[in-house]
């Protein structure tokens, strides 16, 4: 069992990589399955020192709900940003930095949160504080930074906390 763990440090990642390779080939054959599985074993094994702990997902059902929410927000974000770019004068825009104190502790959850923030309305995540207790976010148009912070915390962070921690 211990040996198996050392060869497959991230079993789910192995499956995901094999699947990804099959989708990239866009067709089914034993050749591509074997090669995909080879990649799926090799990549987690080589990158293991950088990623010692296995991430845990507590509730897979909530992952799908979260993905749907983020996809919907991305469409809305595109329209919002397009309207700001086309119709709002630069002088009336309030670009602003916002600090978001984090309750999340696992690196995977923080990564997903930062990615979500970049993809959604008028916000780009720029930096993490020195020990990962706060996230620096740039807003395209935020007259009220506190409102942006509260929205990100309730809309995304609370859901990610349920998924990962």
């Amino acid at each position: 069992m211990k040996l198996l763990r050392r060869i497959f440090p991230h079993p789910i990642l192995t499956l995901v990589l094999t699947g990804t390779w099959l989708l990239l080939v866009n067709g089914w054959s034993l050749n591509s399955l074997v090669f995909g599985f080879g990649l799926g074993v090799l990549i987690p094994f080589v990158t293991q020192p950088y990623w010692p702990q296995e991430p845990r997902i507590k509730s897979p059902a909530k992952v799908i709900a979260y993905l749907a929410l983020v996809l919907y927000d991305i469409v809305v974000a595109n329209i919002t940003v397009a309207r700001i770019v086309l119709f709002k004068a630069n002088a009336k825009r309030h670009p602003n930095w916002v600090t978001i104190p984090l309750d999340l502790r696992t690196p995977e959850a923080i990564t997903v949160l930062a990615g979500t923030i970049t993809m959604t309305p008028g916000t780009v995540s720029a930096d993490l504080s020195d020990s990962g207790h706060a996230l620096l976010v740039h807003c395209l148009d935020a007259p009220d930074p506190a409102a942006v912070r509260d929205e990100i915390k309730t809309r995304y962070e609370s859901r990610l906390k349920e998924i990962f921690e």
Binding site: L23, N26, V81, V98, M119, A126, L140
Partner: protein, 126 residues
Amino acid sequence: MDQIFEVIIALLLVMAGVFGVVGSFGLIKLNDRMSRLHAPTKATTLGVGGVLLASMAHAAAFEKYISIHELMITLFLFLTAPITANFIAKLHIHRHDTPETLPDPGEDKVWATHNKPEDEVIGPQL
């Protein structure tokens, strides 16, 4: 029937084109460096997404097969776009921001990008 699909595909392509143009226009119109980062990271997502949806609809309606490559492109786009944006933002912080111009990071005292050895030189010193 074919005509309906043609109309849908054409609409998707036009929508994608419009968002692509808006994203590029944002690069010219927005007037500070960090704001300029917003236009290409977002408006382009729907632009590329529209082209990919049109491509999938075309494959399904006229060439009679389900194409998955487009979904993979979407996946890789969603993985890489935030990371690229983050790298560009970090470079901006390195070269144009000091701890005084950024908001207070709370209990950690300093943002990760500013926590570097004293004598380290990053990028050409202009």
